[in-house]
């Protein structure tokens, strides 16, 4: 049952990442990977809210597996993030590669803190 929750959440999260990436990438003409950046930060925010809610007892184990491990885990990606960073560096865009690395880490961590703080305020 737990496996099924993770698989179902991921079967929603992964296509959501793919479609969001396509939508975002169509709307700008820079080489910066805004699509992956967007899904990663969004996923960190949602998982931050979820962990905050879980801490207050507002999210069951099933919800955590479905939305956290499954959906947020598959919505976000480290493999594409590191591959795109490497491609930027290889193509000579070293500054953009470094900017992608730093901005993703800082924004992702910030979103995780923000989400958790918001959840802890709501479910105080």
């Amino acid at each position: 049952m737990n496996w099924l929750l993770v698989a179902v959440g991921a079967a929603v999260g992964a296509p959501l990442r793919y479609l969001t990436d396509r939508t975002v990438q169509k709307r700008h003409d820079t080489v910066f990977p805004w699509g992956t950046f967007t899904v990663n930060v969004l996923g960190c925010l949602v998982l931050g809210v979820l962990t905050g809610a879980a801490l207050r007892g507002a999210a069951s184990d099933s919800v955590q597996l479905l939305v956290g491990t499954g959906l947020c885990g598959a919505l976000t990606t480290y493999s594409t993030f590191s591959y795109e960073t490497m491609r930027l560096a290889e193509s000579g865009a070293r500054f953009l590669a470094a900017a992608n690395l730093v901005a993703s880490v800082v924004a992702g961590l910030g979103a995780a803190f923000l989400g958790a703080a918001a959840a802890e305020a709501v479910w105080a």
């Binding site: 698989a7 991921a10 962990t51 499954g70 885990g73 480290y78 594409t80 490497m86 880490v105």
Partner: protein
């Protein structure tokens, strides 16, 4: 990109020479349906693998998230080799990259757990461990993707060398 299969007499084989070859509209559901389906399937498989790893080697509450670090490192190494294989060594069916690259590897690796686990370490009174995890993961991930791509390129060049020399 492969040229379309049915070419009229006199049409060019080179897609860039003929503006009518890539007639597929990228947004069409007829094209996107199968892609979205294999991304979903691959994502479910990859995430199940990540969940399986967390069950096999559970991390104690508040402990250093070695398993997520390992999962992300493995996923980054595999995508480095995979992308070189399908874009530089051989051509692949159009659903191979969405299924394996976007789906399986994207579902297997995770950025959200990385960020949230860092926050948990900091919040749990271990800011040093949190900072270490925050910096170590991208370092390991980039080293993994870069070295796997390098090894795959070298292996492909070595394999193709005798044929090209003769």
């Amino acid at each position: 990109m492969k040229p379309s299969q049915s070419l009229a007499v006199g049409e060019s084989i080179a897609p860039e020479a003929d503006p009518h070859v890539p007639v597929r509209r990228p947004g069409a559901w007829r094209d996107q349906g199968p892609v979205v389906a294999v991304v979903a399937l691959g994502g479910a498989m990859g995430a199940s693998g990540r969940y399986g790893a967390s069950l096999l080697w559970p991390t104690a509450g508040g402990g250093f998230p070695w398993i997520t670090l390992g999962v992300n490192a493995v996923g980054c190494a595999v995508i480095g080799a995979f992308m070189v294989l399908i874009s530089e060594v051989r051509t692949a069916h159009r659903l191979v990259r969405p299924f394996f690259g976007t789906g399986v590897l994207g579902g297997f690796t995770t950025f959200s757990t990385y960020a949230v686990d860092t926050r948990k370490l900091v919040d749990g009174g271990r800011p040093g461990a949190g900072l270490l995890y925050l910096g170590l993961t991208p370092l390991v991930a980039l080293a993994a993707v870069w070295s796997a791509a390098w090894v795959t390129r070298r292996a492909a060049a070595w394999r193709h060398r005798p044929a090209e020399a003769s």
